[in-house]
Amino acid sequence: MKYAYFPGCSLHSTAIDYDESAKALAGALGLELMEVPGWSCCGSTPAHSTNQLLAAALPAKNLVAAKAISDEMVVCCSACFSRFKFAQKHLEEKPQLRAQVADMMPAADAQKVRVRHLIDILTNDVGPEAIAKAKKRDTGLKVACYYGCLITRPPKVTQLDDPENPRFMDDLLKAAGMETIDWPCKTDCCGATFSLTRTETVLRLSAEILQMAKEAGADCIGVACPLCHTNLDLRQSDVERKLGVKYGLPVFYFTQLLGMALGLNAGELGIGRGLVSCKQLLAAKGVV
């Protein structure tokens, strides 16, 4: 099936490894991703915190462009995914807002596109069974699946699995032959957008997640959001310095983990772009 693909700002810069691995994985599983032409930023937190109309119009404009390609649009970034879902909800529920957006663009088109997170497509369209069949290599990794906030919350908007104890990433990785640990921080907040403005808060929240993953015996952390990746990977050395501990927990996108199990090579998957080195771990497991 052909999907419109919205990468989002992060996937073209700080999360380029997510973009690379998502495309490589989609190719291996026979999913056709076609980038939304002329896509722009979804507005993110600064838009919805300050201007409701902008927060609805920016995603809507991108959805109109996506509609020309496909009825379904794939998003990898959980924050973008959430903004698209919210924009559609607000257009549905607020007639005045809908009228204002309709003056700018064919708003009805924006409401018709089905916005889906890549992990939803892998879980529900491809399915763990197909992943298990496509598996080419046993990585033997012990992964702490970290879902973060916005894939599952609020469930009325995202329409995905259990918001307190989601299991879909665990199911996919288990199907690919990995061990996933049971731990309590699956849906805790890492501080997300406050990485620059309130770094101390982010360090406090990320420290809890890293500590718990380590204590639960994980080799690495699996994420599905570029902001979670930034706070756990890029800020990991700051957390270590602050607390005087050493975690050394590599952070992978779930697409990278699945890609490794499917036998794709490390370069295609952008492995090694993380700030926390994964060389030792992957060498010990015989993956690279």
């Binding site: 700002c9 992060s10 073209h12 810069s13 700080t14 999360a15 380029i16 490894d17 002329g38 896509w39 722009s40 930023c41 507005g43 993110s44 937190t45 600064p46 838009a47 919805h48 915190s49 300050t50 201007n51 409701q52 109309l53 902008l54 119009a57 920016l58 404009k61 991108n62 462009a65 529920e93 607020k94 204002q100 003056d103 700018m104 906030c149 916005l150 919350r153 609020p154 469930p155 918001p163 805790d188 907040c189 501080g191 997300a192 957008t193 406050f194 620059l196 403005t197 309130r198 770094t199 808060t201 929240l205 890029l234 090694g272 772009r273 993380g274 700030l275």
Partner: protein, 210 residues
């Protein structure tokens, strides 16, 4: 007397605006505290989330709009997901931020205000986020010039930071920003803002009309 009546009117109008913006009715909250118990940022807030709801219930809207809490909310949606009364608290916080800005209430956290402003100005200019300029402008604005400086070269070496902005989404974003600006110009003036002066906080605006 006139002052009390006007103050009450202003409060009612602002509360209505918050309820309309968020699609929530503040009386639905029964103060069980579950939102505050689960809030990851509550420890840093000046007013816990349930107390922001209480302020709104009591009609103390200007206090709610001035508190740090509304700006520290990370929109993680935990409160919204767990509320037994199904109050969408994250939407109320969003509404408070939007209305506070509209009414000219100063943002108590300078860094967050700068972050939002700079981010949107970059999207307006390039269509997509350009991290290098963003962090440069943010660090300059907060006088914290060397913050995270050591990370830049490493990220660049890993191919995770670019020297030039990506302009592919420029047309899309610029047209949206232009349209949104036009709508704002045609909006009726904010209630009780007779002077048309949006830069003055709601409370002062009301007092100067005395």
């Amino acid at each position: 007397m006139k002052s009390i009546v006007q103050k009450n009117q202003l409060r009612t109008t602002l509360l209505q605006a918050i309820e309309e913006h968020s699609g929530q009715s503040v009386v639905n909250c029964y103060q069980c505290d579950k939102c505050t118990a689960g809030c990851p940022i509550a420890a840093d807030m000046d007013t816990p989330p349930n107390q922001v709801m209480r302020l709104l219930q009591l009609g103390l809207v200007d206090e709610a709009l001035r508190c740090k809490t509304i700006w520290l909310c990370a929109s993680c949606e935990t409160c919204t997901t767990r509320c037994p009364r199904e109050v969408d608290l994250a939407a109320v916080m969003d509404a408070c931020r939007n209305i506070a800005l509209r009414e000219g209430v100063p943002v108590p956290d300078r860094a967050i205000a700068l972050f939002n402003r700079t981010f949107l100005s970059i999207i307006n200019r390039y269509g997509r986020l350009f991290e290098m300029e963003f962090i440069g402008r943010f660090n300059t604005g907060t006088f914290n010039f060397f913050k995270d400086m050591t990370k830049g070269p490493t990220l660049m070496a890993k191919g995770r930071l670019t020297f030039l902005p990506s302009l592919g989404g420029r047309k899309t974003a610029c047209s949206v920003f232009g349209d949104v600006r036009k709508v704002r110009l045609h909006l009726p003036p904010a209630p009780l803002d007779a002077g048309g002066n949006h830069a003055v906080p709601a409370r002062e605006a009301h007092e100067t009309t005395e």
